[in-house]
Every structure is written in C-alpha cells, then in structure tokens.
C-alpha cells in the first residue's frame, strides 16, 4: 500500500502538503517537499511507521512553511491547564483541543493514532464536525508535551484566550433524541393498537379487546404528553403569561384538547380516542424541531477579542526565552513578537523593524511602520522579522481590551421582531376559538352533547401542525443549502430576518477588499527591463509595505549589491551599478515639481534624477464585486464605512454609484453609532464586516455578517459567517431568503385548505378518530414535502445545489 509509485515528481508537488515546490532540493528518496517543515513531519511519521497517513488521502498534510519552533512553556501554568483538561485523576488526564486545521480522513487517522508517536498517550478521539480532539494520556506526559507533539506533525491546537465551550449543547441534543424516540415508540404502538378502530371492528366482535387496547393507549400516551410534548406546553404557558400568543399556544391547546377528549371518550364512553393523532402530532413536531436546530458545530458565533488573542507569549528572561500566559504579562516584560504574531498589550518597540498590520483592528489597509521607541498598540500583527517590545500596560488595561468594554458586548442580542408564523398563529388561535364557541353555541340549541363534541373537534382538527412545520422545514432547508454554499447562519430565524433588510452597510478593508492584496498601477514612461531591474533592486532592500508590493509587482531579476538609504516618511535612495534611484513621496523624488501628495499609496520614482513615473497602489477589490454591487444597489440602500482614509472614494463610487453613502476614518465606535442612528429611523440594517473594528457594529446591526477567507479563521461575534469564496453569491442568498418566505406563505395557504376540510367535518359533528388520524399526518407530510422540494427546486435553478 505504499503509494510511492505516484508520479508526483513531474510537477513538483510537495508529498506532504500538496503545495507546489520551487525545486526538488528538499527530498527524502524520491519524495519532494516544499519546505523543511513538511520534510520533518514526514520523517517523524516515517520513523514511526505511520505512512498510512499518505495513503488515505493525497498530500493530506498541513504545510509547515516558515514556522518557527514554538515554545509551549506557558502550558505548564495551572490556570491554563484547566482550560483544556476535561478530567484528571492521579494516573490519567483527558484534554480536549480544538484543531481547526483538520480537513480530511487522513487527519482523523493520524490524530487517532497519536499513541504510536508517544507511549504516554493512551487514546485519542476526533470529533470531525466539531473539529475537536480529545486525548487521554497518563500523567508521565503533560499538556505541554502533547501540544508539542501535535505541533510537530502540523496540527497545532487552537490556543487562545477564549473560554472553554461547555458541553451543555450535547446534553440538549440528547434530550431531543430521547423525546423523539419516546414519541416515535408510543406513536407506532398506539397506531398498532388502534387497528381495530381503523378496521371498524365493532366492540362486540372484539371480545373486550377494544377496551384493553384503549387503556393501553392511555398508558402509552402519558409519557408523550408529559415528557415529549412538555416543551410546547411550557412554552405556551410562558408566552401566555407575557400576554403573547405565539405558535406554541394553538399547538398546546390542540394537544391538551386531544388528550382530555380522548380520556373522556375512553373512560366514560368506551370509544376510541384521538391518542394516535396526538402522539403523531408531537412526533412530527419534534422531527421538525430537530430539522430546525441545525447548528454548525465547528463554527463559533460568539467570539470576542479573547479568541483573537494568543494564549501564550514569548518573553525574554535572563538572556533566555520562555513563554508565559498573556494574562500574566506585567508592565516591563520584554516580549518577542515574530512574523505574523499578535501584539497582545500596549508596548514600546525596543529592537527590530516594526511593521504592524492593524487592518483587523482599525480597518487601515496598509501596515504601519514603527520606529524604535514608538508605542505600539495592542491588536496589531507584526509582519516581517522578529521584534522585541517592552510592555507598558497589562492586558486588561490595553487599548484593544478597553475597546471591548463597550456596553453593547455585555448585553444579549435579542431578536425583537416576531416571525411570520407567530403573527399568523395569533390570528389563527383567535379565529379557531371564536369558531369553536360560535358553532358549539348553535349546536347547543339542538343537542348539548354534540355541542361539546363539536367544540373539541374543532380544536382538534384545527391544530396548526402544518403551520408549525412549514417554517422549520423551509428555513431549515434553506439554512442547509446556504451552508453548503459556505454561508453559515447562526439559526433559522435569521432567514426570515434577511427578508426584512432595507439597508446594507459594508466595511471596506477586508470586506470589499482582500486584505494583504493590492492592485498596482504604473503611470509614466515605459519601464524597460533595465529600469525594472534597477527599481526592483532598490525596493528589495526596503521593509516598507509599499516597497514590498512594488517588488512583487515588477518582474525580472534584481541585485542585492549597491548603496542604500531609507528616509522614514519620505522614501528610498539607492545607488546601483552607477545609477541613482529615488522612490517615495514627491518631495523626495523631485524637488522642483512641487506637488506634494498626502495620499500614502502613491510612490513616485526617478532614475538618475530623471522623473519616470508613479506607482499607484489601490486596494484589491473582491472579484465580482461589480456585479454584486449592481444587484444590491437596486434593492437596498448601501453604506460603506471605512476606518481607512478617503483615497479609495473614487473607486468605491465606481461600484456603488453616487447614491450610496461613504464614510471614512470611522472608529469602531463611529460605526456602531452610525448603525444605531440608521435603526432609529426605522431601518433594518445588515452589516457586513470582517475585523475586530467591526465587531461593535456587527453586534448592533439587525443582522451582522462576518466575511472570512477561511471559516476556521477568527471572525468577530456575528449572526452569520460568509466565506470569501462565496462572496459573489450574496444577492442569491438574499433572494433565496425572500423566496423561502413565499414558500412559507404558500404552505400556510395549503394548511388552511386542510383546515377548511377538517373544520367542515368538525362543525357538522362528523369528526371520527380515524378521520383525524388520516387528516393530520397527510397535512403534515404534504407540508414537509412541499416546503423541502420548493426550496430545493429553487436552489437548483439558481445553481445553489
């Protein structure tokens, strides 16, 4: 089963991670690797005879490119340990990690065979949907050792400040299954025992078996009524106490009437009751509820800044390096921040070139250069080489943490709008009650007995099971289809909310644009290969973000030799092969042409004192934004809020036109206030953002959607997560939500038709148990079929399935 015969070498694909390799220098035998990290993972697995990993899926590994050897000393801290350890006694411990990188069956295989890498690991088990791994190990090992092993094979667990997620969710789910199981069991048996009734066998022919069966039915229906159906009764009671009539009220009314009437029929009149209808109703309702509670286990919609923060940080201590929990940083600690790492506290730069990317925190697209001695605020990410900083505040006092203490984050976001089903069921309840009283009143004139029968029969037949099932099945199915297209909503109610949106607010950086990418425009005299060579060599030495972008933009080769000087805030001066190259703001490049521009994203260039042109760096907008903007602005008011400067206004207007609103230089608080102001004028606001700077606004908006390049990445607390690759489908999702609402309305109409027939029999006093037992499932099942096929057909037509 060794899969060495695969012809991987032809296009130089890394045997471990499947990325392209620059050359075949890094290899073991005939297996090529893209980097030493991947190679080392392979050799670990190879030495432990675990190459099955590579035969389950092709190139399953997680790339280990430019990854530093991390130090996990902080995991020995007792407070930190309790975050991961689920259970421990004297001999063994069980820890639970979240590993978002796992993506294929090979991942499951290797993570469940960890015991082969270390004898102290006793067992490990993956929950793929939750992307979690539980490891049981004996206490010779430690949390730190386990994490180091996981990291060495490329599966570093998520180590951030986020609170441990409780397992309450699982218990809730189990309860749901118990309820369904019991309801299904009782429903089936009651149907079986009601057979004599269905076959119209008269009590005389059945030798008393009828009575026995009826009483057995009562026994079987008791757990359904008191256990499985209890949530409907409780919910109805609660809503009545708040003087609201929600969908559960008519359901509870129906259940209670069915149960009581059946008891009376069986005990006093020895007739068959309606217990089959009652248990069936509860069974179907619970199935609907299960369908509705689709959750995305691996996603977390409740994240705050804490999940953005790392758990440990490298500090310098007596010439050595160690790691400590970030919560234990004190003023005066020397912290080492490496490429891509986050600065957790406000600090002063001591050593190294600080190029801090704040795009996630403030929305500024370009990284900011920091000189030694400057203050760096918490939340930025270092890009480039490692820096050394000295903390000047503790984590609880830092800029980012204080940002989060806004009251909007402490209050629970509540859904203040009432769903369509609840509005309809309110009228439905009153109409049915009115009808029942009215028709039984008329019967009262002729026959008191029939009057009571008619009263209960109306309530039985009009039980709104179809009404109650249409929303969960329509929205639940829509939610699933959207999920398959990488748009994950927190719950089904949001589908209906989406249809009410009037205004869409976009953040710019990272939402409309792709962070870390830029469009470069060159204007000026033509760049010959020689000139390109010179400019490329000049910018090569600079760490300024714009220089890096120009370096990537120009093709050709470069030299590293030459004289080089960089003046902060002005530009670069370089002498290469006898040519002088100047790049930067206009003053620096050409003092005569005085046209100083404040726009930071223009780089002018001169070679040998001759002005040759300028590079304009634009934000890189998402593909298909043009189409999307076109579609959206026809239906909604568009607002663009940006933490960045005004330089992109012209480009934004190209997308969204002059009628949309644009605001720049917005702080997180400004964004929040803007949305609150919109809401005060009666608008329903959908906010789409990506970073921490939008977190407040996402929370304030009616629907906050966070856009993410990868769903396992950090995203602030929100109602939905949209993966960037499905960005262009966004209008389709909105239309789909609108269509779902139409389906719900249509299924309400169907349900009314059924009710009309049922009521005809009920009012005329001809409702028999068998009729109720037929009508009820038929209406429920047809609603389920109608709603699911309706949404599926639409999704198929629009290419969503």
């Amino acid at each position: 089963m060794n899969s060495t015969e695969k012809s991987i070498s032809e296009n130089l694909i890394c045997y471990h991670c499947g990325d392209e390799c620059p050359d075949d220098k890094i290899h073991i035998d005939d297996k090529i690797f893209c980097c030493n990290g991947c190679k080392s993972v392979f050799s670990i697995l190879n030495n432990n005879d675990m190459c099955t990993y590579y035969s389950i899926s092709d190139a399953p590994g997680i790339t280990k490119k430019d990854e530093n050897k991390r130090n996990y000393d902080f995991l020995d801290d007792t407070d930190i340990k309790t975050k991961f350890i689920d259970f421990n006694d004297e001999k063994i411990s069980k820890a639970i990690f979240s590993i978002p990188q796992m993506h294929c069956s090979s991942c499951i295989w290797i993570l469940e065979n960890l015991n082969r890498l270390d004898n102290d690991i006793l067992a490990s088990q993956v929950n793929f949907l939750q992307k979690s791994l539980s490891v049981t190990y004996n206490n010779n090992s430690s949390l730190k050792k386990i994490v180091t092993i996981l990291d060495s094979i490329g599966y570093e667990p998520l180590l951030n400040l986020e609170e441990k997620r409780d397992s309450k969710n699982n218990k809730e789910f189990r309860k749901q299954y118990y309820k369904i199981g019991i309801a299904g069991f009782c429903f089936g048996n009651i149907m079986l025992l009601s057979f004599p009734e269905y076959l119209s066998i008269s009590p005389q022919d059945s030798h008393g078996l009828n009575t026995l069966f009826n009483y057995l039915n009562i026994i079987l229906s008791i757990p359904v009524f008191f256990y499985s159906g209890s949530e409907y009764l409780i919910s109805a009671y609660k809503s009545l106490r708040n003087k609201i009539v929600n969908i559960d009220v008519p359901i509870a009314l129906g259940i209670i009437v069915l149960f009581l009437r059946s008891l009376v029929e069986i005990v006093f009149f020895s007739n068959a009751g309606y217990l089959d209808s009652m248990t069936g109703l509860i069974f179907f309702l619970l199935i609907g509820k299960l369908f509705q509670t689709k959750t995305y286990d691996a996603l977390n919609f409740e994240r705050n800044y804490k999940s953005y923060f790392p758990l440990g940080i490298t500090i310098k201590k007596n010439d050595g390096e160690t790691t400590i929990p970030v919560e234990k940083i004190v003023v005066g600690n020397r912290l080492i921040i490496r490429n891509g790492e986050l600065i957790p506290v406000d600090a002063v730069l001591i050593k190294g070139n600080g190029t801090i990317d704040y795009s996630f925190v403030t929305g500024e697209a370009l990284p900011i250069k920091k000189e030694q001695g400057e203050v760096i605020y918490a939340g930025g990410k270092q890009t480039g080489g490692a820096i050394e900083v000295e903390s000047i505040k503790e984590i609880s006092q830092s800029y980012l943490t204080r940002l989060w203490n806004n009251k909007i984050f402490s209050k629970q976001k509540e859904m203040n709008s009432i769903s369509l089903a609840n509005i309809v069921s309110k009228y439905f309840t009153f109409i049915i009650l009115g009808l029942a009283i009215f028709s039984s009143g008329i019967w009262m004139l002729y026959n008191t007995n029939t009057a009571l029968n008619v009263f209960t029969a109306i309530l039985i037949v009009a039980c709104p099971c179809a009404l109650a099932l249409s929303t969960p099945f329509t929205s639940g199915n829509a939610l699933r289809i959207m999920g398959r297209n990488n748009f994950y909503l927190r719950n089904v109610d949001l589908i209906e909310e989406l249809t009410k949106v009037t205004d869409i607010v976009f953040d710019k950086t990272g939402t409309l644009t792709v962070s870390g990418k830029a469009n470069i425009n060159y204007e000026g005299i033509e760049l010959t290969p020689k000139k390109k060579h010179l400019i490329k060599s000049a910018v090569r030495n600079s760490t300024h973000p714009l220089s890096k972008m120009i370096f990537d933009y120009l093709d050709g080769d470069y030299v590293i030799t030459g004289k080089f000087n960089e003046i902060a805030g002005e530009g670069i001066f370089a002498e290469i092969n006898g040519s002088t190259i100047k790049l930067g703001s206009l003053i620096h490049v050409d003092k005569e042409k005085f046209e100083f521009s404040r726009e930071s994203s223009i780089v002018h260039c001169s070679i040998n004192e001759e002005y040759i042109g300028k590079f304009t760096i634009h934000n890189f907008y998402r593909e298909k934004l043009t189409d999307l903007a076109q579609e959206l602005k026809e239906k909604y008011y568009i607002h663009v809020l940006s933490g960045d400067n005004k330089s992109e206004l012209k480009n934004l207007k190209k997308f969204f036109g002059n009628d949309s609103k644009y605001l720049f230089g917005q702080s997180p608080q400004d964004k929040l206030d803007y949305i609150a102001a919109l809401q005060n004028t009666g608008k329903k606001v959908l906010m789409m953002g990506d970073g921490l700077n939008d977190a407040g606004a996402l929370r304030q908006s009616d629907i906050g959607i966070s856009i993410s390049e990868d769903k396992s990445n950090f995203s602030p607390s929100c109602d939905g997560i949209l993966e960037a690759k499905s960005f262009d489908l966004f209008t389709k999702f909105l239309n789909f939500a609108a269509y779902s609402k139409k389906i719900i309305i249509a299924s309400f109409i169907i349900s009314f038709v059924y009710n009309f027939f049922g009521l005809y029999f009920a009012i005329s006093g001809n409702l028999t148990p068998i009729l109720a037992a037929i009508l009820m499932p038929i209406s429920s099942i047809s609603i389920v079929i109608f709603t699911t096929t309706g949404t599926n057909l639409y999704a198929k037509r629009r290419g969503l399935i």
Partner: protein
C-alpha cells in the same frame, strides 16, 4: 382470540427493548458525533509495531 393479548404483550415487550436500546445508544454518545465514525470504519487495521511486510495486501 385471547391469544392476541399474549401477542400484544410480546410486541410491546419487543418494542420496549428497542426503545431501551435506543436510549442507551443516545446516552453512550452515539448520536453526539454522526460523521467521524463513518470515516473511522474505513481505516484498515494494520499489524501493530512489528514491521510485518505482508501488510500491503490490497485496498
């Protein structure tokens, strides 16, 4: 006809056994993760530790 009473008793008993088995399955966590076991079952067992060369028969 009285045999029906016994038969009903049996059928209920069988159904109750199934219900109990179902509840036990839920309680033991079989419904907590509905995806991973479906993959886990596809992994081949391999001889442990000792490097037996026969272990590559076929898929």
């Amino acid at each position: 006809m009285s045999v029906i009473i016994i038969l009903i008793g049996f059928s209920l008993l069988v159904a109750i056994i199934f219900l109990i088995l179902f509840i036990r399955a839920v309680r033991s966590g079989q419904f907590d993760d509905k995806y991973t076991p479906s993959i886990r079952i596809l992994f081949d067992d391999e001889p442990k530790k000792d490097k037996d060369k026969q272990h590559g028969s076929s898929k």
